[in-house]
Symmetry: C2
Subunit: 417 residues, 2 copies
């Protein structure tokens, strides 16, 4: 018997039928002998309805009142879910953020949780009740309602799990867990049993939007075991493990990708100057974020080259900026493209293995995929390729690093556990 925090997002409680499915999941966990704290978001569509009402009055409504308004969305979900649970004979009790209470700072619309008083919830758990807590909200020191911003319900769940020293924090989503890559691109993508927090952070920041980075960080800081799993499908999902290894003997855990990249190349740069010292402040002052960055000095050559990538939306702006500041020197050649994509192999196993870059290059070369740029960090290797080759690139590397599985078999194995 343990203490489990279960979080269900807005699409999991979008209507009463779905809410009954959630209630059944909670009931199952209770029947297994666990104490359960449920965190819920607003019913899908409710938050947008409230925002629309407020914006019809004023396009930038008072942040305090906006939070007071939005918080009703989750309160509605918690009360309805509690009614569903009670209807199943499960003793349950809804909580607003203020009723827990969950204390946050003053930053309306993007507040941070400062502390959670678990006295009330512990009393209810001890009395055999399920506590149904409104995600995404808290109160500041004056008792004003605050919200944590989008994705805040994940943060509420992890923070509650930390405060209650829960055995597990289960984040229910519309996918079965974390896959080796996006199954829409590679049908052989395999569901991962486990992933480390650092791998998860890399996956999340690269566009695998299963979990908010902020809640993963929080889980890491407070040693909360997080499990990502599906509301609608059976299975054990993916456990985000604490520490440095997930025990599996994998080189690569997954492949993430991102189509929102654009690259700019400055070639023919003089050897004498530190061009990065000029380039980087230039871009950051213009709020342009640099993602990949490589500086080359071709062996024996008399010039150097800088290649960097940025978000596609900033491509034109960055290109103009670079041309204005570096283009006056006619030895410098400036080119760029927004038809590129980034592909990243992520895995704690990469740390201890050399020449991953070589294996990547070789595998892609066999498919005539040209690697335009390659950067490496401790548990990640990222490459830049032509955007139209992205899907082929993902499949090629998925096979080359033995990530392929049989989705159906995977499903059956997970269900049988």
């Amino acid at each position: 018997m343990g203490l489990i925090v279960q979080k269900f997002g807005g699409s999991s409680v979008a209507d009463l039928d779905l809410m009954q499915i959630v209630a059944a999941k909670v009931a199952e966990t209770v029947a297994a002998g666990h104490q359960v704290v449920v965190v819920v978001s607003a019913m899908h569509g409710e938050t947008d309805r409230l925002i629309k009402l407020a914006k019809a009055i004023n396009n930038s409504p008072s942040p305090r009142e906006m939070d007071a308004l939005l918080a009703t969305g989750e309160q509605l979900s918690t009360a309805l879910l509690a009614i569903c649970l009670i209807n199943r004979g499960i003793s349950a009790c809804s909580y607003t953020g203020a009723q827990v209470p969950i204390y946050t700072d003053d930053a309306h619309n993007k507040a941070r949780i400062l502390s959670i008083d678990t006295k009330n919830i512990r009393r209810d758990l001890a009395a055999g009740k399920v506590a149904v807590v409104a995600g995404f909200q808290g109160i500041n020191e004056h008792g004003d309602v605050t919200t944590l911003g989008r994705g805040g319900s994940d943060t509420t769940a992890v923070a509650l799990a930390a405060a209650l020293q829960a055995d597990e924090c289960q984040i229910y989503t519309d996918v079965k867990g974390v896959y080796t890559t996006d199954p829409r691109i590679e049908p052989k993508a395999r569901l991962l049993d486990k992933i480390t927090i650092n791998e998860m952070l890399e996956m999340a920041s690269l566009g695998a939007k299963v979990l908010q980075s902020r809640s993963v960080e929080l889980a890491g800081r407070h040693n909360v075991p997080v499990r990502v799993l599906s509301t609608l499908e059976e299975g054990k999902g993916t456990l985000v493990v604490l520490g440095d290894s997930h025990g599996a003997n994998l080189l690569v855990s997954g492949i993430a990708f991102n189509k929102d990249e654009a690259k700019i190349i400055l070639s023919g740069l003089s050897l004498q100057e530190n061009h990065l010292m000029r380039l980087l402040p230039l871009l950051s002052n213009a709020n342009i974020e640099v993602d990949m960055l490589v500086q080359n000095h071709i062996q024996g050559g008399d010039s150097q080259e800088i290649t960097f990538t940025t978000h596609k939306n900033d491509f034109e702006k960055a290109l103009n900026l670079v041309q204005n500041h570096f283009g006056h020197d006619n030895r410098v050649n400036i080119t760029g493209s927004d038809q590129v994509a980034k592909l990243s192999l992520i895995g704690v196993g990469l740390r201890s293995h050399a020449n991953i870059s070589g294996r990547i290059m070789l595998a892609l070369a066999q498919e005539n995929i040209d690697v335009q740029l390659i950067t490496t960090s401790e548990i990640k290797v990222s490459i830049l390729i032509a955007e139209n080759l992205l899907e082929n690139g993902v499949r090629t590397l998925h096979a080359a690093f033995q990530l392929d599985g049989n989705p159906d078999q995977e499903y059956m194995r997970a269900a049988a556990q």
Copy 2:
């Protein structure tokens, strides 16, 4: 400069356009130099939407969770109204019942207010803010959300006015105030400037649904001057005055009526027995409420007669019950009708005047309206007549007691004040 509590019901905040009208009213009061506390109900339709959601899960949902759910309706209104006010440059701040806090007893769905802590509101008023308070809700000693039941926002407003020792509690409705009778029946009905609390209570209990009886009682107990007025139309409305007299030299202040009556007559009852001692427990055990009740002993006769009225819905049930318990004695004759209506003249002036019954009888006789039953209390005379004669009866007595006015002139006078 004073402190005014203004209450707006669900139909006054049914949509954003109406809410802007409410905001304009509040702004007007602020501009006149007053401190303002606004109490709002849920937007019309919102409470029904929430009830429908809950009942789709369980027909008698948990009272605690039902209250948590319903309370979101008023929270939504308060936040939106605060946004409207801020949009007009008025500093405003929304309050849930818990944020005030308004403490109630434990009786979910029909809680009673125990006390109100005015510290937070007073601080905001002192800082020049308008406090927008959610009506209809509070918290119990455990911090659970409670609701006061239908019409509870009136009670919230009066209780807040009492706690804050406000100069006036203004209840905004969809009528201009309290009329001498229903203007749909008698177009010459006149808007009353003032009415006493006792008169108001009699009017309310007789179906003039301008104010909940409970809030009128509360106003009387705590000496809160209440004014009933219209959200959409200009005018000073009707002031519900404390004490025993409204200063006007009126015999009758208004005529209320009620079509939901039915009468049952037991005649030929023996003189020896106390039939009421049998009849009344019989009816009350069956949850049948007796309204008017008259026992006659015809001078020189050898039998007595009992006539009583009850709600139309209970007519069949009451008739069967009486027949089963009194019908076996074949000297007793039992008859009844549900084609009757009750008409009541209300006025503090009645207290000091004799023979009102005579004047009523005379006026009605001239119109060939037969009075079937007459009962009197300190400030009220009620008569029972045939239902199809009700409108004629109201108009006849309205004229006979000099209540007729000219609605247009009335309107202009009220607007000019």
